[in-house]
Amino acid sequence: MSEAGATKKFLYINRKAPYGTIYAWESLEVVLIGAAFEQDVSLLFMDDGVYQLVKEMQTKGIGMKNFTATYAALGDYEVNKIYIDKDALTERGLTLDDLQHLVWEDENEDWAEKDSIHLVGRDEIADLLDEQDVIFNF
């Protein structure tokens, strides 16, 4: 129940593989447009959504545009709270090293480069969901 102009907490949950369906790409489009509204934005990658951040993807073989490089620009849009379900990674045989290294620059600390990605457990995800005002589930 916020007042007009107040900042709300927005969480975008990404649960599907990057290709196969359009949800990952159309989710990112919402995130990029939404960034202009200066809300308190977080992203959560869980289930097959963790595949969206796998680095060095090649899409030529399936004839689709590779949109996943765009994740690296999220820091420039001040989207710098990116949570990953660490169990979802492990279940798929992935580690943090398999993913893009997403960073942002902290203007309050002389533009120091900081990691955007935070690995979280499922109990922490429950807390994360609990504190949101608006949740998009893609």
Partner: protein, 130 residues
Amino acid sequence: MKLGIMVNEGPYTHQASDSAYHFTKAALAKGHEIYRVFFYHDGVQNGTDFTTPPQDDRNVVKRWSELAGEHGLDLVLCVAAAQRRGLVDEDEQKRHGKTGHNVAPGFRISGLGQLIEAGIQADRLVVFGD
């Protein structure tokens, strides 16, 4: 309460639009305000006037149009999602040189900012679809 509604699946294949419709109608009957209904992904197909279901079935598109007419609902189709999926209004028809336009009465095409705005302005954003 002021509610925003998001519909993420097309009609008939998926029940999301039916559920969103019934929810919206019930919310209005209870005196709640519907700030906006935003259609995204295949949900934009809920706004094509070319829908012609069999006579003994519900007309999902017409039902939304009628509800909008009765209550002054703001039904918004995401422009990017709509263009990918062949939803075209008169302006878009001219701009892209298409042979027709098919946005049903009560619907309008606009940008994703309208969705974010609904999230900000509404007390609750209720999402229908997987």
